[in-house]
Symmetry: D2
Subunit: 359 residues, 4 copies
C-alpha cells in the first residue's frame, strides 16, 4: 500500500513543481515590467525598502512548516533571480566566463608571439633588474635558448621597506634595452596606477603581482590601456576572487588578460607556497583566458621545478614562468630560488624532453 | 499613469508571492509525508535520481524568461529546503545539540568537582608523566595552589616513533598515586580502544587527543564506559566535525563529555597553532556540553598564556588547561612551552586577579 | 670516568665559545672599517661578488664535519650580522618595535580622544556610507550611546566590479557632515595613493584595508601625511608581514599608526574568518602601537560579537570596531553581519557591563 | 691609499674566516664526542639548561660591537648546527629516507603486480562496498579495462555516527569474492588495530586512511604484519609528519609501504581539498617509497580528474587512485564524486592516451 501512497505523493509533488514554475516565471515577467516602468522614471530598479516589506509580509503569512528564516532565504533567492534578469549582460555572465565566450582568448604579442594557442610559453628572467650587465647577460642566454619573453622586476613590492625596492623606471629602461638587443619581449610588474601609462613604452606585458590582486584601482588602470596584462593570483585568494579581479580589467575594456597561478598560502612548510594544480583545469574551464603557472614562487625550491613544470603543462597550462639570474647567490632578491643560466638550460631542456611543452 | 501601472504590477507581485508561499509550504508537507513512508521502508530519504528527473522535467517545461541554469538553481534550493527540514530535525536531534537539551550539561566528578556550572575549572600538570618524583612535585604544587584536576600524559602520541612515547600503564599508576597523595583528580590521554577499560581505575577523566579526534573506534569505546571524557578538537577539524566526533561518544550512551579547543593549524608561524577563540561561544551556543581551552597547545608560547586564558574565560569558556613541569628545560616532551611551578603560580594568580575565573 | 670526560669536553667547548666570540667581534670591527673606507669612496657596502668568493673559499677549506651547505648557511649568517651592524638604526630596530620605543604610542585625536591609553575605544558605523539620511541616523544613535569615532566606507574595495563601489568623495563629505552635526570623529578607508591628500579634510583617521595591507604605494603615501592611520591585517598576512607593513608608514615619518586584527583566512566555515586572538598580546608585546579588533569582519556573525569583543579586551586590545546600520537588511554591502541600532545598543551595554571596557 | 687599506682589511677578514671555520669545526667534533658519552649514559643529547648557561656566559663576555641579541642569535645558530649534525644523522637514519636506501622500494603484490617500478598503477573501485551485486559489477568492468587492483571500503570512517559506516568484515568478504572472481587484487581501509590481523585473508593491501594517519596504535599494528600498506596523508598533515607516520610502520618491520597524497585542507572552496602536487616530487626525493595520488578525494570534482591524473603522473607519481561506482547517484557515500563505469573508461583511456601512464 505504501508504494501506491508514495506514487500519489510524488504525483502531487510533480504538480506543485509545475505550478511553482509557472508562478515564478510569471513573477519574473511582472518584475521585468516594473523595471521597464522604473527605467522610464529614472529610478533605481532595486528597492530594498520594498523588498523588506514583501519579506515581512511573507513571514507574517507563513504558517509553516518552514521557519521564518528559511522563508526569508528562499524568497530572497527568488527575488534576486528576478532582479538579476534585469541586470546587464555583464552582470549575468562575467566577461571572463567561458559562458560569455566559448573560444579561448589568444593574447597577440609583437613578433607574432601568441599566448593561449597551440604553442606553450616559457617566460624567464631575473626576479629583479639589478644592472645593465646582469640583465644583458640573462637576455643573451634566454635568446640563445629560444625564449621569447623575458621577465624582470623594476618595481619590487617587498615585505620590508628596507629591502631592495627595485630600480623603478630606470629598471624598465634597462629591461627594454636588453630585450631589444636580443630580440625579446618584456614583462614587468607595475604597482601604482600612476605608473601604468608611463610603463607602456617599456613593457610588452604588464604584470600585476599577487599582493596587488585586489588593488582594484590598479586593476582599473590596467583595464584602460591597450596592453596585455598578466594577473597573478593573490597569496590566499580563492579562484572566484581571482576571476573577479580579472573581471575588473576586462570590464574596463582590456580583454588581453592572462591568469597565473603562483601557489597559495597553506600550513605546509617544505614549500614556500602550495602550488594549486587543480586551479589550472578549473580556470581553463571557467574562463576563456590563458592560464600560466609560476613554478618559482609556487614552490620556492629549485629541486622540484622540472616535475612541477611538467605537471602544470600536463594539467593544461598555456605557459610557465621561472626566475633566472646569472649569479643567484648575489641576487638582491629571492637569492635562494632563482636558477643560474646553466640550471635554466637544463631545466628548459628537461621540460621540452617530456613532450609536454608544445613548440 | 505609470504610477498606477506600477501599483497594479506590485499588487500582482504580492499575490504571486502569497501563492508561491502556499505552494512551497504544501510542497514541504508532501516531502515530509514521503519521508515518513521511506522511513518505514528503511530507504534513504534523499533520492538523487528522482531529484534529477524532477529538475529535467522542470527544465523541459520552462518557457522563460529564466534560463535553464537559473531554474535548476532555484528549484535545487527549494528542494534542498524541503529536505533540510528533515535533516534539521536530524541535526536538531543530535544528542550534542543545544536544541536537544536546553540546559548546560554538568560534568560531575568525584570530590564534588563540577565542570560546566558556576565555577571555572583549571586543569594543570605535566605534558608527560616522567617519574614518580616529577609527578609528585607537580601534584604538591598544584594542590597548594588550589587546583583540583591534574593532567599528565602516559600514552604520548608523538610525530616520530623514536621520540619518548610515555610510560604507558606505569605512567597512569604513577599519576593516580601522586594525585591520591595530594587529593587531586586525574586526567590522561588514552590512544587505543583496548586501553579504555584498563584505564578506568587510574583516571577520573579520559582525554581523547587532537590526533585521535576522528579515531572513531576510540570514540565508540569511550562512549561505552561510564567515565567523563575530554575531547580535543583535531588539528584541522571544523567545529561541525568536532561536534560530530562528540556525537559518536554520546550516541553510545556516555553523555559526560567536555569539549576542548586547542588551536587550529594555519599559516601563521609566530604561534604553534591559532587559538580559535570564536569556537568558544559558537560551541557553547550549538551544544550544551562544557567547553574548555588548552592555552598551552593553542599558542605554544609561555609569554601570552595569561592574556589568552583571560580571553578564553571572557569568551565564555568553562575552564582552562595548561601544562606545568617542575623543570621544563629537562622535560621529555614539549620542553619549550611548559610553565615551571613559579611561573604557574604567577599565571594562575594573574588569571584569578582578572576576576574572569569564577571560583 | 665518563663524567670526568664530559667535564673536560665541556671545558673545551667553553674555551671554543670564547674564542669564537672574540673572532666574530673582531670580524665585525674589520667589516665596519671596510664600510668606512667604502663610504668615503661612495661604493655600496654590500659586495655580493666578494661574499660569494669568501663563501667559496670557506667551502674549499672545509674538512668537515659540517656539510658544505651548513658552512654556507652559518657563515652567511655571520656575514649578515656584520653587515647589519653597518645599517642604519632603522634597519637594526624597526620603528614599530617595542625595542625601539618602550612606551606605548598614544594616538592623539581631536576632541581629546586618545587611543592606546587608559580608555578603550569603540569605533562603530555602517559598512558603507549610502545616503545622508542613513549616515545621519547612525551618527545620532552613536552620539547618544557615547561613541566618539564613527566609521563609514566611501571607497569600497569589492570582490566584483559590479558590486556597489561606494559613493567616493561624496561619501566622505556626507560622513564628515553627519559626524560634525553630532560631534563625532570620522574614519574611512582610502584605496588609492592619489586620494590620501584630498581625504584629509574629511577623515580624522585614514583606514587602510585588509586587501591593501601590502599595497606599498598606498602605505608610503599614508606615511607622508600628518594624520592617524588604522592599518588592517591582510586576509592571510602573518604578524611579521603586518608589522612590516606598518613600518612602511612609520619609515616615511607618520608615527600615528594603529593596528587592527580582523580575522585570518582558514579552512573553518562557521565563521567568515578566524579571529586570531593571540595576535593581540603578541602585537602589543612586539610593538608599541595600539591594537584594535574588528569583531564584525573577523567573525561575520552577529550572534557572537559580545563574547568576541570581551575576549579581545581581556586579551589586551585597546579598542573594538563594529558595523552598525539603521536597517541592515537593506544595506548595500555586508547586509548579514551589521548590527541594527537596537542591537548595537545591547551589544555596547553588554560589553561595558563586563567591566572589560575601560571608560 | 684607501685601496691598499681595503686590501689589508680584506686579508685580515679572510684570516678570521679561516680561523672561525677551524673553531666551528672543532666545536662540532667536541659536541659529537659529548653526544657519544651521553648516548652511553642514556641521557638526552640536548641540554637546554647547559645551552642557556653557555649563552649567558657569552653575553657576559661580549664587549661589542654586536648587541646581546645578535650574539644570542648567532651562537644559537652555531649551537643548533652542531646539534643538527646529530639529528641529521638521526634523520639520515629514518628508515623511510632516501639517504638510508638509495634504490626505489618496489612493492611486490600477487600476480606479479609491482608498484614503484616501471609500470604505473591505477587503483579503482567504489568508495564503499555496498552489496555483492554492486561490487561484482565494478569488478567486471575494472577487469575488462585492464585494472589489476580494486579498492572498496568496508570500514568507513564517517564524520557523523549516523552515516553509513560500511559493511565491516562482511564487506571485506564481498570484496575478496568479487575480486577473486575477476582476477583482481584488493585494497581496503582498516581502522582498528584489532582488525589488522583478521583482515589479512581478504586484502592484498591494507589502507590506512587520512583520519588515521596519526593513529599510532594502528600504524604499529600495520607495521607488525607482512602485508603491503597504503598510507594516506592526513587532512592537514605536513610532509614531515607524513613521512614520520610511515616510519612508524617501517620501524616495526614492515617495509612494504606506499604513500598516497589525497589533498590537503585549505581555504579554497571550489575543490574539496587542495591537491598538493609538489608533494609528489618531494616525497620521491626524500623517500624511497612509492608515491600515489588519489585524484577523487583531492579534488572532489569529476570534471578535472583527467588533467589532475596527468599532472600527478607528470610530476612522477607511481600510480593513481580513483573511485568508480556502477550508479554514483545512489551511492551510500561520496555520491557526487564517484565516476560511473562509462566515465571511468573514458577517464582511463584519456589518461593512457596522454602517454604519461606507463604500462
Amino acid at each position: 500500500m505504501s508504494n501506491a501512497e508514495l506514487e500519489q505523493l510524488r504525483n502531487r509533488l510533480d504538480e506543485i513543481n509545475s505550478e511553482l514554475l509557472k508562478l515564478i516565471s510569471e513573477r519574473a515577467t511582472v518584475v521585468q515590467d516594473i523595471g521597464a516602468v522604473k527605467e522610464k522614471q529614472g529610478v533605481p530598479k532595486f528597492d530594498p525598502e520594498r523588498e523588506k516589506k514583501m519579506l515581512d509580509k511573507l513571514v507574517e503569512e507563513n504558517k509553516g512548516p518552514f521557519t521564518e528564516s528559511t522563508i526569508r532565504t528562499l524568497f530572497k533567492q527568488i527575488f534576486k533571480a528576478s532582479l538579476d534578469l534585469q541586470s546587464t549582460e555583464h552582470k549575468k555572465n562575467l566577461l571572463v566566463s567561458r559562458k560569455t565566450r566559448k573560444e579561448d582568448t589568444l593574447i597577440l604579442l609583437p613578433q607574432d608571439v601568441v599566448v593561449g594557442g597551440n604553442a606553450s610559453l616559457m617566460v624567464a628572467g631575473p626576479c629583479s633588474v639589478e644592472s645593465e650587465q646582469q640583465t644583458r647577460t640573462v637576455a643573451a642566454a634566454l635568446a640563445k635558448a629560444g625564449i621569447k619573453v623575458m621577465r624582470g622586476g623594476a618595481f619590487k613590492p617587498r615585505t620590508s621597506p628596507y629591502d631592495f625596492q627595485g630600480l623603478g623606471m630606470d629598471g624598465l629602461r634597462i629591461l627594454r634595452e636588453a630585450a631589444d638587443e636580443y630580440g625579446l619581449l618584456t614583462i614587468s610588474e607595475i604597482v601604482d596606477p600612476a605608473h601604468i601609462e608611463p610603463s607602456l613604452d617599456y613593457v610588452d606585458i604588464i604584470q600585476i603581482g599577487a599582493r596587488n590582486m585586489q588593488n582594484f584601482e590598479l586593476l582599473k588602470a590596467a583595464g584602460e590601456v591597450n596592453k596585455p596584462v598578466l594577473l597573478k593570483r593573490g597569496l590566499a585568494a580563492t579562484m572566484e576572487e581571482f576571476l573577479h579581479a580579472a573581471e575588473y580589467i576586462l570590464s574596463r575594456g582590456n580583454t588581453q588578460v592572462m591568469l597565473i597561478e603562483r601557489g597559495i598560502r597553506t600550513y605546509e612548510k617544505w614549500t614556500r607556497n602550495t602550488l594549486d594544480i587543480s586551479a589550472v583545469p578549473i580556470l581553463k574551464q571557467e574562463s576563456h583566458l590563458p592560464v600560466l603557472v609560476d613554478v618559482t614562487h609556487s614552490t620556492g625550491r629549485k629541486d622540484i621545478l622540472v616535475p612541477c613544470a611538467k605537471a602544470a603543462l600536463a594539467a593544461g597550462a598555456d605557459g610557465i614562468m621561472v626566475e633566472v639570474h646569472p649569479d643567484p647567490a648575489t641576487a638582491l632578491s629571492d637569492a635562494a630560488q632563482q636558477l643560474n643560466i646553466d640550471e635554466f638550460n637544463t631545466f628548459f631542456n628537461d621540460v621540452k624532453a617530456s613532450g609536454l611543452f608544445r613548440e
